[in-house]
Point group: C2
Chain length 344, copies 2
């Protein structure tokens, strides 16, 4: 195998976790897969960009950004106009796209990935936007140029969901999906069960840093709807936009509702679901009272779960506990390994 040249576009918590995971796994990649690599470019939002065809010092770049210094001083190329100039000028075989994205149209990630593929790079992202807004276009482009567009980390972080169906569940025809895919709402519902008001629980979730300053994307079910949309689009083969997902958040749930569920031995969960019906795929996000016979019942806090029903297996559930930037980074690394080992 050649030495793979990697470009990192986006160098926040996830980008740096990926950089350090690459360093930690350097020997394993060589020994287990014959893969060697060098990072030829890093682009940040607020700390400049650096390109060095001979390879950048990854740990140094992490430290500089963490100290608030500009990466430009590490670069062999002088001032790059923007992220597109970065992609055009960085000699790379793989682009890791983890820049801030608009959920409305998936930009600029969609354009970044399109350009990278056009320039012959594999494109790997943890951004959901490009999957829900441009999965078919980008996948077809990737096929046309003999490269991969992979995005394992977009749903349930590094837990293998997309690669599971791509590689480990061949010829399975998925009939339904159920899951808890949004951590913030799950945590809020847990806190309400412990006696907090909705407002107190939201404030707690914000204090832990897992939710945005404006938590409405979580609370109103948008984040969950985007994930359902990604799962349906890719795994059920039916393009589905987040706005097409029937969506209800948890804003109206009261302590009385919580108590009512408990009396019945149930718990409120914000459940994502998608089901094949004679009229097409019915996808929704809504609070549900989950009973004890469901594996969703015990899924607490930031843990997430997805349950698949197919024509070949009974119910197959995947649960991921303890997520974080490091597990998102692992999904990106796994995509890189899978993309390049399929080269051969």
């Amino acid at each position: 195998m050649p030495e793979y040249r990697l470009a990192l576009l986006g160098f926040g918590n996830v980008g740096r976790a990926l950089a350090r995971l690459l360093l930690r796994k350097r020997t394993a990649l060589l020994e287990q897969y014959g893969i060697t690599f060098t990072v030829t470019g890093i682009a940040t939002g607020r700390h400049g960009m650096a390109i060095d065809p001979g390879g950048l010092d990854i740990e140094r770049a992490c430290q500089w950004v963490e100290r608030g210094e500009n990466l430009q001083q590490l670069s062999r190329l002088t001032s790059l106009a923007d992220s597109f100039a970065f992609i055009r000028h960085c000699p790379a075989d793989v682009l890791f796209e983890n820049s801030p994205v608009s959920y409305r149209d998936g930009q600029p990630a969609v354009d970044h990935i399109r350009l990278a593929l056009q320039r012959g790079m594999h494109a790997v992202t943890a951004n959901k936007g490009p999957v829900v807004h441009a999965y078919h276009e980008l996948t077809e482009l990737a096929q046309a140029v003999g490269r991969k567009f992979y995005f394992e980390s977009t749903v349930m972080d590094g837990a293998p969901i997309f690669s599971l169906f791509r590689s480990a569940l061949p010829a399975a025809h998925l009939t339904s999906i159920h899951g808890i895919l949004n951590s913030t709402t799950n945590l809020i519902l847990n806190r309400m069960e412990q006696g907090e008001s909705f407002e107190q629980a939201v404030a707690y979730a914000q204090s832990t840093g897992i939710t945005e300053t404006d938590p409405s994307g979580d609370i109103d079910g948008w984040d969950a709807a985007i994930k359902v949309s990604a799962l349906v689009t890719v795994l059920m083969g039916a393009p589905l936009k987040p706005a097409q997902v029937k969506r209800q958040g948890i804003r109206h749930l009261t302590p009385a509702d919580i108590a009512h569920a408990r009396q019945q031995g149930k718990r409120w969960k914000l459940v994502c679901s998608a089901q094949r019906t004679p009229d097409g795929i019915l996808a929704q996000v809504a609070p549900e009272m989950v009973a004890q016979d469901s594996p969703m019942y015990l899924v607490d806090g930031t843990t997430s779960i997805v349950q698949f029903e197919s024509d070949v297996l009974g119910k197959l559930s995947i649960i991921e506990a303890d997520p974080g930037p490091h597990t998102t980074a692992y999904g990106l690394l796994a995509d890189f390994i899978n993309a390049v080992r399929e080269d051969g």
Copy 2:
């Protein structure tokens, strides 16, 4: 891709479920993977064997065996001495090995698989014996002849466990495994929680057909130990025989023990575990009182669960509900597809 010639050695519930699944998935295999196949040989334990290089009528073979008729009349070859003669004379690219096996030494499945690989076939099995007794030998032989030795269905039926690590979790270093992998004991413990005595619960499990006439292999933890041994051998890269697994069954558990657990809000489960320690891998099967914060708490009846901890993800759990011969058959089909699509 060529047309793959398949030989089915073992034609009981699982073998026939595989045969019918192959028929049902014929179009999908062609459309999704370009795979076409013909079944050139079927060998049964008590209903003879048939080989036809031009292809056997699969549904007819199923029906004949179900009516108790001998397959010999479907064969183009006259009397074959035994299963080894079947492998030697059947023109095939893939052997599905599902014959009755001795857990003591994995025979005759080990010898069947060795012969098939030597004759250039991929070998796929739902038998655990060859994995725990000859994984390294058979895998090295398969590599030497450019074929695959796959066995997805040996643990948790068709749920993707081995292929998950092979393909979807690259470069993950597994540090521990926990799970409930034996259905019979799980069902017995459920019944005891509902007030039955141990003997009543065993009789119930036997009446459902999920356990053997002699249930001691389940009750004393041997089946679970064999599965732990397979997982450790393959996924942790450390050969481990079932006898090396510290093993304690559920025979000594009393209704008082069950009540005691319930008082603490816990449930008894026969837990399989393996953990890397400074002194090597510690593997055991033992009844444990499982608390509500474990995803194992809700795993009932024939449902099984395995939880993996690794250096790259938090706890990743896989739960399979509703297993049966059809899910075992799917694991065999998935192995076949994965083996031949990796042919390149």
